[in-house]
């Protein structure tokens, strides 16, 4: 049976179509989920896409984190059962939901950054990165104005010690993120959030590379053999 991967649309989501396309290119069946329905439609995994949910009002991702769909998603994700990938605004939503520690704040440059960005994959022990090799360098797209990852020193030390930094920025610092962190995972490895956009790097025609596809093929591999993430 083909794995079914839900892609949530919030008011102001932009990259839900691209995320669904990446899911399909990886060989899974994308399933549209609506923020206002407290119904995950039995999907095997969920992608929270990029964009500006609720116009970034209050704080980026803050209002989306209280959407009816999230009341179903949060407990399933917290328990380790449901794999969730949050990209850009999706990462902000995961932090606002406290599924991931820390927060995303205004870029230190105060400028919106839109560029091709090299990343280093720091761990493959997550549901979304197992198709990469540790230390692999990938080229994807970064486009965000509030992408500066912050957390207190104790949290940052714990993330590093527990191998929960998933991707790190290479080359020049794009946004002032602490310790160059571009993405992190939770203690079970099923929830991953990152600011850059792997779903925009899945086809040669439109992306800087196809090296983002690994996030989406990884989840297929994970769902195929049902091995718990992080093992």
């Amino acid at each position: 049976m083909t794995a079914r991967v839900g892609v949530v649309t919030f008011p102001g989501s932009l990259d839900d179509k691209d995320a669904a396309r990446a899911v399909a290119l990886a060989g899974a069946e994308p399933v549209s989920l609506w923020h206002g329905d407290a119904d995950l439609r039995g999907v095997d995994a969920v992608v929270l896409p990029g964009g500006f949910s609720y116009g970034d009002y209050l704080r980026c991702g803050a209002i989306a984190s209280f959407a009816p769909l999230m009341s179903e998603l949060v407990p399933a994700a917290r328990s380790g059962a449901l794999p969730v990938l949050g990209i850009c605004n999706g990462f902000q939503i995961l932090c606002e939901s406290h599924l991931l520690p820390g927060a995303l704040t205004r870029n230190s440059s105060l400028r919106f950054v839109n560029r091709e960005q090299r990343l280093r994959v720091e761990t493959t022990a997550t549901a979304w990165t197992r198709d990469y090799t540790e230390g692999q360098e990938i080229l994807v797209v970064l486009k965000s104005g509030e992408g500066s990852y912050v957390a207190d020193e104790a949290t940052l030390d714990a993330l590093e010690a527990q191998n929960r930094v998933v991707v790190r920025y290479l080359d020049s610092d794009p946004n002032g993120s602490r310790r160059g962190i571009a993405g992190i995972t939770n203690e079970h490895g099923n929830v991953v959030g990152l600011m850059p956009h792997p779903e925009h790097a899945v086809e040669a025609l439109t992306g800087p590379s196809t090296e983002g596809l690994g996030f989406f093929t990884s989840i297929l591999a994970r769902l195929g053999d049902k091995t718990p993430a992080g093992v």
């Binding site: 704080r59 704040t105 205004r106 500066s148 912050v150």
Partner: protein
């Protein structure tokens, strides 16, 4: 109806590039002696009836769950007089 004011500020250890940009503008515009600016948010919350301890506790709960992200922000709650 009464008004409760919630002030939200970034925690002191969190970098505030907006505040820094404002501080930079101050010196360019000739406002002397401005050493630092930090930018925050003010919420005015209208509540039903008298503001008693229970009403204030409700607004505090609102502040810590919605109005502020306590990972990076501090808040204070007071009755507007």
């Amino acid at each position: 109806m009464a008004r409760v004011v919630v002030d939200v500020m970034l925690k002191p250890e969190i970098l505030d590039p907006q505040g820094q940009a404002i501080a930079g503008a101050c010196s360019r515009l000739g406002f002397e002696g401005i050493e630092q600016v930090r930018q925050g948010k003010r919420f005015e919350v209208e509540v039903e009836g008298e503001v008693d301890e229970a009403a204030l506790a409700g607004v505090r709960r609102l502040a810590e769950t919605v109005l502020a992200n306590t990972v990076i922000e501090d808040f204070s709650v007071r009755v507007d007089s």
